[in-house]
């Protein structure tokens, strides 16, 4: 693996994956923000994944829960 690829891979493991997994501390978030300024490809990937999530979540049609289901569960567990 070339040094450049290795560095890119380390960066991805350290920040991108962690950010997408919502595990970054606030210090690391700040560090990521600084790094992303100089890594437009990573910035694009992060931004695109976030765009995708927002798009799907805003358009997705959720199923409504029938009151009968809630009543049935409550009755079966004795509430």
């Amino acid at each position: 693996m070339s040094n450049l690829k290795k560095k890119a891979s380390e960066f991805e493991n350290k920040f991108i994956s962690s950010s997408l997994e919502k595990r970054l501390s606030s210090d690391a978030k700040q560090e990521l923000a600084e790094e992303l300024k100089t890594n437009p490809e990573y910035f694009k990937r992060l931004e695109n994944d976030e765009d995708f999530q927002l798009f799907i979540r805003s358009k997705f049609k959720r199923k409504e829960v029938s009151p009968a289901l809630v009543d049935s569960i409550k009755s079966k567990i004795g509430f």
């Binding site: 765009d51 995708f52 799907i56 997705f60 049609k61 199923k63 829960v65 289901l69 509430f79």
Partner: protein, 182 residues
């Protein structure tokens, strides 16, 4: 003890019923089956409530129960287990780079004009394993770590499966939008 159970159900479990019902529906494609699955999930949660730590992650705990009930009970009696279509997954490998470059497509007007039904139907056409990670991550906002726990798969598998699922969904949406002249 009964008061404690009632408190957990009222404050932590019942608020998750809509998300559970939604997930169950998109696994079974049948409202009656989905309701049976949700009911079974709550009954199991009641039976095994001693294994739940109050105030922790009720949503992930209940989703895991529902997923296991779906695999162990519902799927067994309805059809053979579904696995990721390897051919379909391999085809996507070649498309990944292309799709990466086209990420911004989803902000284009043609996609924004799509209705919720069209997006939801596209998700429903995905293979079960791909559909599941999209539902858990993009619809329900679980972290990769939580998804790994719910599905009992390594976190790396979550990451790669989600990447493939998103690319496949983008491709379906792109084709659909083109066919409709958006």
């Amino acid at each position: 003890m009964k008061d404690k159970k009632a408190k957990i159900f009222t404050e932590e479990f019942f608020p998750q019923i809509e998300a559970l019902n939604n997930f169950a529906y998109h696994l079974t494609y049948n409202q009656s089956d989905a309701e049976d699955l949700v009911q079974e999930t709550f009954l199991k949660a009641y039976r095994f409530i001693d294994k739940y730590d109050e105030g922790t992650n009720a949503k992930a705990w209940l989703f895991r129960i529902l997923k296991n009930a779906f695999i162990n009970e519902y799927r067994k009696k309805s059809k053979a287990p579904q696995a990721v279509d390897i051919d379909q997954a391999n085809l996507l490998k070649d498309e990944d780079e292309k799709a990466f470059k086209g990420f911004h497509d989803l902000r284009e007007e043609m996609f924004q004009n799509m209705m919720g039904d069209e997006i939801t139907n596209a998700i429903n056409t995905l293979q079960e394993d791909f559909r599941t990670v999209i539902l858990l991550c993009d619809v329900e906002d679980f972290t990769y770590e939580e998804i790994a726990t719910i599905l009992e798969i390594p976190i790396g598998t979550v990451r790669s499966r989600l990447h493939r699922a998103r690319n496949l969904l983008r491709e379906k949406l792109r084709n659909y939008a083109s066919s409709k002249g958006y």
